[in-house]
Subunit: 259 residues, 4 copies
């Protein structure tokens, strides 16, 4: 049965919505938390979703990590792009099982992880990154999520050109997306998707201007705000703190020049 | 080459961001718009992304429809759930290639279309709907998107029970999601995802209460606001009109009872 | 008693939250609505808040117009600035009873109406407008609200200079606010408030740059989103449609140059 | 001249947008900050807006506190209601110079301060609070802002009744506003305003239900979101963190029973 916890699996130890831990199930090992020690052997061989108690009697639930969990855990300390944005990039950028996607920059591989999981089993992500130390982090994150085989990590500067052809989507999360517009146009299939994520409106303006110059159409820029709601009888209300901004997303499709 | 337009393909005729038409490419036929007549023969055999001119000289672009296009076009006149919400349901509900998903109600098949496209090629969507006339519409929409084979449409009342077992996610867009909570618990794998989309906060309160009673964990309720930005040198600003609310999304994971 | 309806008063006929009518109470007259005819004599001499019936038996409530009502009714057809923005401008711009305020452009006098009502009884609004036809509309709107004596309407171009001195606040709702920054600095008291309302981010950027050059401090730019909630047992939810953007508000205070 | 700094004045020492200090100008005294010591004598007799240097050479600007500054400083540590909400309450509740307003609960006097400043010079705020220790804090805050003479602080439970009559507006920021609805109806002028600020949707539902029972009309519930924009050439974007929710505001007007 697919949902039994096996040695070597990554699991998500869940205490509450704000405290979860992504760890590897290694026989004989323990995991230290501020709520006591959890023995890995207590859950190996049991079903995902099982509850275990720490040495101090506090209950944890052992979940199979979701793609969103892998994304969150990759992001630790570099929170630029968020799962909410990734979700929209996937659907609005038409990332599908079988898609051939070019991405830059790889960063820690958070967006890469999500892209790779959705192009499975017969698609591919070509991910460009100039900073080699990031590629190493991304490789580990992708390996942990079991998705490395769907990604080709490339230590190259995408503003210098793209090696691949017949690409379904070019996805950018980098400082100068406008420099990639001509290369993206060249390698995308007719109607293929250009997607750019940028924190500042200045970047958006430059990118959209280039997209218009290079014959892209169906250009849209959006931002996404997610509000968490605290639901409790007599106390239901949106949460006080909220992420007010992560970035703008720009989408466009390649239109052919000759008419 | 995959991106050539063949007879029988569905295509998206694009005039501008607000005016697009999803039509079938049938040789010898024409398509009437208020901007003149477009001849289908003008683009059959050409590449997707090509521009064609109508009889009055207005330019249209012929795109291959994206999943989001199919979703939008399914929704005509019944706009309850939006692509923005669907995007979050897919990622936060961990819908993946290979997932086995139960959905209710089918409605016109908008959410079904997106779910089906992401469980490909070896997953399955079991979609419950009590109103038979909706199932017929949904079937046509799924057929048009080429996704019918990944969906089993069921003319059944999901509040009476769920036939399938070992399910990865139960996705609900219906008036009384709380009535499905016990059935969802029964058929989900350990750690499986429960997702509910509801327009009113009253529905959310009842559903979350039931989720707590039935031992679900990692319960979160969110809402998603998408703002469109008008980008134009000297005139850049968010658009004046905005969809202020579609619905709340509640996510939860099944935790096992014995500890 | 202050709340008796007298002949000559302006009143707000209220049918429901979306249908209200600002009319003058003239003895012997009637008011035609698509819900029948309301006789003015039916409510003259009665107390504000009274209900009257139209010729078709539909109930209207006769309210004393609030400042917000006067503002809304002034805006008919030129909705650029909204009451929500005006509210923030008043408080964040420290408009107070007794304040001496310079405003431009007057437009139809919507913001002017609110400013005038809050500087009463011993303050003054100096309002600049280059388009004479607008000044005439504004004069009528201010007269209707009983606030004309607190406003000096000036048919002058504020980018050419400001006549007044020792001003508490300069409030701008015009296309080129940055051109007014040096004049505002000159005429504001030490610590006085500069406020600018602009629909586009490009205007904001230029204005903030000028504010920095001219020694303004405490510069803040905000936008305000108001969501309406539909409250009804079992159906409580934010409303579907929402105003997504009206404009940005920039606030700053004059700091003196010598230290 | 009104803008000279005199001994005894309260002043706002401004370092940057996040660090401001509300202090009293007392001759011979100093003020200690983590950026060095500021001598009060350095600015007494000078104009508001003047810059002074601390012992470590850091520049501060000496502003005359605005009403919003007094409100912010009153709120220290009890941030429930925010200036953005107060601004809307003032305008939408039609608080005007001359208004007679009933408020509960007083709390630390933040909302009271704003109300008092706008009913000047011939209006009055009657503020109810059951917790005597809060009344003492509120009294000090009102005194500091020079507004105590416009407020009558009452150590009474407003759910037991309201002493005043012919009231223009009843403004509530308390846990059980629905218990005050019948009393508010009794003491409001015809067409008078009922305003309630509540953090939870459950409170809103109960209050709106009571308002309907007691013949209030023009009932509206809104929430207000303010986003701060970071404006800087090449880096313009909304700020990352945002207050996602403070509370809902409900407005209603008294309609008379007999028609």
């Amino acid at each position: 049965m697919a949902s039994e916890i096996r040695e070597g699996d990554y699991v998500l130890l869940y205490l509450d919505n704000k405290r979860t831990y992504l760890i590897r199930a290694e026989r004989g090992k323990v995991f230290h938390t501020h709520k006591g020690v959890v023995k890995i052997d207590d859950f190996i061989g049991r079903e995902f979703g099982v509850k275990v108690k720490s040495s101090t009697g506090v209950e944890f639930i052992v979940f199979k990590p979701s793609i969103r969990d892998y994304v969150y855990k990759s992001l630790r300390g570099t929170q630029i792009i968020y799962p909410k944005d990734i979700a929209l990039i996937i659907l609005y950028g038409n990332i599908q099982p079988g898609s051939r996607v070019v991405e830059a920059g790889t960063g820690v591989g958070a967006l890469t992880t999500a892209l790779a999981s959705y192009v499975r089993p017969n698609g591919m992500v070509y991910s460009y990154e100039i900073r080699e130390e990031f590629l190493n982090v991304a490789r580990k994150n992708l390996e942990r999520a079991g998705l490395l085989e769907y990604v080709e990590l490339k230590n190259k500067d995408i503003t210098q050109g793209i090696d691949e052809r017949d690409i379904d989507a070019v996805i950018l999360d980098m400082a100068t997306p406008w420099l990639v517009v001509p290369h993206a146009y060249e390698v995308l299939k007719g109607g293929g998707f250009f997607v750019s994520f940028s924190p500042t409106i200045d970047q958006v303006m430059k990118t959209v201007e280039e997209l218009r110059v290079y014959g892209f159409a169906y250009i849209e820029t959006i931002e996404c705000l997610v509000r968490r709601i605290h639901v409790e009888k007599g106390r239901t209300r949106p949460e006080t703190l909220m992420t007010g901004h992560t970035g703008y997303m720009t989408f466009a499709r390649k239109s052919l020049k000759e008419s």
